[in-house]
């Protein structure tokens, strides 16, 4: 009898929490250009254009505010694409009129690598400081223009809001953390196969190779030939092949600088439901500069 009461209580609690779970995401992680066009007048949505100021001034999605990508990721020492100080980030986010309850749509370009990954890096950064409802525009501004959707040249001045960061520390991790998790976490190298296999490297990456034990899940596999994200089922199959079926297992993704890896991190977490995906911000640029770091092949 006692056990039944206990079970009932558990069921009631779960039933009460279920709607909250649904509310945890107020917007799909990927929104289409058609969806955004229909929602341009939705006052709850903050459209953040992360392109260069000059490009924004030349034309942007009506109502979009401009917060250039360089505000979200900076160079620290030799490392590219690093997190700015939290107080600077809070200024940027509050200045864009974003608060923790905002529904944010990130808009960037998709025709150039690595700029096409600006959107997910910004989305991941927003999640890091406690803005949960973040989406990226599938196809970006590139597709918006290609589809002849309306553009504006009127710069939007956001109504600034005070923003206090609630940092989710687990979303970005450092080298010491990665070292401590080797052999425990699934480490995913999201660079192309030639980079993973140690045959190629970018100029600013100190040497060839990968983190010991890493598996390969290239970011190039995320997209259709048109530059749009593949369908959920297809992405799920790709992710499962690399990361396995255990959605709760700790996963650490990395790339060259900590930018492109956010694409898989965002998709795996926000679309596919992986519970514990972390981005190694220093990535190959930092790891491969350390003579003591475990490297293969």
């Amino acid at each position: 009898m006692k056990r039944m009461k206990w079970l009932k209580a558990v069921v009631i609690v779960i039933a009460l929490l279920l709607p909250l779970t649904a509310m945890a995401r107020g917007i799909d992680p990927l929104v289409s250009t058609d969806w955004l066009q229909k929602n341009l007048k939705n006052a709850k949505i903050v459209i953040v254009d992360v392109r260069k100021v000059e490009d924004y001034q030349a034309g942007h999605i009506p109502g979009a505010v401009n917060v250039f990508y360089g505000s979200w990721a900076i160079k620290k020492g030799d490392l590219l694409n690093e997190l700015p100080p939290i107080d600077d980030l809070a200024d940027v986010i509050g200045g864009a009129g974003i608060d923790k309850n905002s529904l944010v749509v990130i808009v960037g370009i998709t025709e150039k690598v690595p700029n096409q990954f600006d959107m997910t890096r910004v989305a991941w950064t927003l999640k890091y400081v406690g803005v949960a409802n973040v989406a990226i525009l599938n196809g970006g501004y590139t597709l918006w223009v290609k589809e002849n959707k309306p553009v504006s040249q009127d710069a939007v001045k956001a109504k600034a809001k005070p923003f206090k960061a609630a940092v989710n520390k687990g979303l970005f991790v450092d080298k010491a953390f990665v070292i401590s998790e080797i052999g425990k976490a699934t480490i995913i190298d999201t660079r192309g196969p030639a980079f993973y296999e140690g045959k190629e490297k970018l100029e600013f990456v100190p040497k060839l190779g990968r983190i010991k034990g890493a598996v390969n899940l290239p970011v190039g596999q995320l997209y259709t030939p048109e530059g749009l994200y593949k369908a959920k089922a297809e992405l799920a199959a790709l992710a499962e092949k690399a990361a396995g079926k255990d959605m709760s297992k700790e996963i650490i993704v990395y790339c060259d600088t900590g930018k492109t890896a956010t694409a898989w991190a965002f998709i795996m977490t926000d679309m596919l439901g992986y519970k514990d995906v972390k981005v190694y911000d220093g990535s190959s640029q930092e790891w491969l500069a350390d003579p003591n770091a475990s490297i293969e092949p």
Binding site: V53, Y56, Q57, F68, G70, S71, I74, K75, L80
Partner: protein
């Protein structure tokens, strides 16, 4: 097309040639590719602007002349004027079309028309960024140095601070930008901010950018020299060579002893000017290592010009810019 009055005119109005002729060769006889190289053409309608512009620094390039002439003897200056300045430096002058029609050529290469053949009021990314694309512009956008200027982050571009009188001139022929009074000043916009203690303490002895530069900017080592150009990012603090008392951000400029060897100029007075000059760097941030901690300067002396850092065989005047900062008496 219709909204632009210029385009309502016949092509030959500006470019000359003869549009009634049937062959290309005869139609192009007397053709002028860049009509605004002759300011009088634009001056027909824009009389005052064109007149002012004939004296503007963007047109006269006198700033470059003034920047180096004190290194020369009187004889050397004559050689410089005839062999170097007129043939090299002056080639950099911007015509009206360089900013309003077609990107200015840099090293002989232009990125082309700004917007078809429309006459545009401004397009900083394709005009200012072309000539100032080595240092100022990429530092401003963060493409060099890695941290964009806070003003750029807030959507500001060049002409939001640099007004058109700075571009077109005010009619006076200035020797250098230092003579121009109406230049952007931080305090023009930030004057109403209540001074913090640090501002009050440093306001007469430290430039704004000395504390608010986000960090590394381009230091030029051997541009315009025989050995080709190199540069690297660095952050340098020292005394302003123009007053020798204000601490500010310094930029290494590329004139070295052999720069004008090819023209037969040895620079007899090379040591009269330093190799490091005050630079109003365009990578400003609200918070920097120096605004966050007094110790950054007063204990660690980060970025301060030191004797051992000075470039090899540089000017003797460089040593006068070294500032030995003292710890704070607590």
């Amino acid at each position: 097309m219709g909204k632009d009055f210029h385009l309502a005119m016949e092509c030959v109005s500006c470019h000359k040639g003869d549009d009634k002729k049937e062959t290309k060769e005869s139609a192009h006889a007397g053709f002028i590719a860049k009509p605004s190289d002759n300011l009088k053409n634009c001056g027909i309608c824009h009389k005052k602007t064109a007149l002012n512009y004939t004296n503007a620094l963007h047109y006269t390039s006198l700033g470059q002349h003034e920047g180096v002439k004190h290194r020369f003897s009187a004889e050397e200056l004559k050689t410089f004027d005839s062999k170097v300045f007129e043939q090299s430096c002056r080639a950099c002058h911007a015509s009206c079309g360089s900013c309003h029609v077609k990107s200015p050529p840099v090293g002989g290469i232009t990125t082309g028309l700004l917007q078809g053949h429309k006459f545009v009021k401004k397009n900083e990314g394709k005009t200012c960024a072309s000539c100032h694309g080595g240092r100022v512009y990429p530092e401003f956008t963060g493409e060099y140095g890695g941290t964009p200027d806070v003003h750029y982050q807030k959507g500001m571009v060049c002409v939001d601070c640099h007004k058109k009188t700075e571009m077109h001139g005010d009619g006076t022929m200035y020797k250098s930008k230092q003579e121009v009074k109406d230049r952007p000043q931080c305090l023009s916009c930030h004057k109403n901010r209540k001074y913090q203690i640090a501002h009050e303490l440093h306001k007469d002895t430290v430039s704004c950018q000395a504390c608010h530069s986000s960090g590394q900017y381009r230091q030029c080592y051997s541009c315009h020299t025989e050995s080709g150009s190199t540069s690297k990012p660095d952050f340098i603090l020292g005394l302003n060579p123009r007053d020798k008392k204000t601490l500010t951000t310094l930029r290494l400029i590329p004139t070295i002893r052999s720069t004008f060897n090819k023209a037969g100029i040895k620079m007899e007075n090379f040591d009269a000017l330093p190799n490091y000059w005050d630079s109003s760097v365009h990578n400003i941030k609200k918070r920097t290592e120096r605004t966050r901690s007094c110790d950054s300067c007063h204990v660690a002396k980060e970025g301060f010009l030191k004797r051992e850092m000075l470039i090899k065989d540089g000017s003797k005047a460089n040593e006068e810019l070294i500032y030995n900062i003292k710890p704070i008496n607590k």
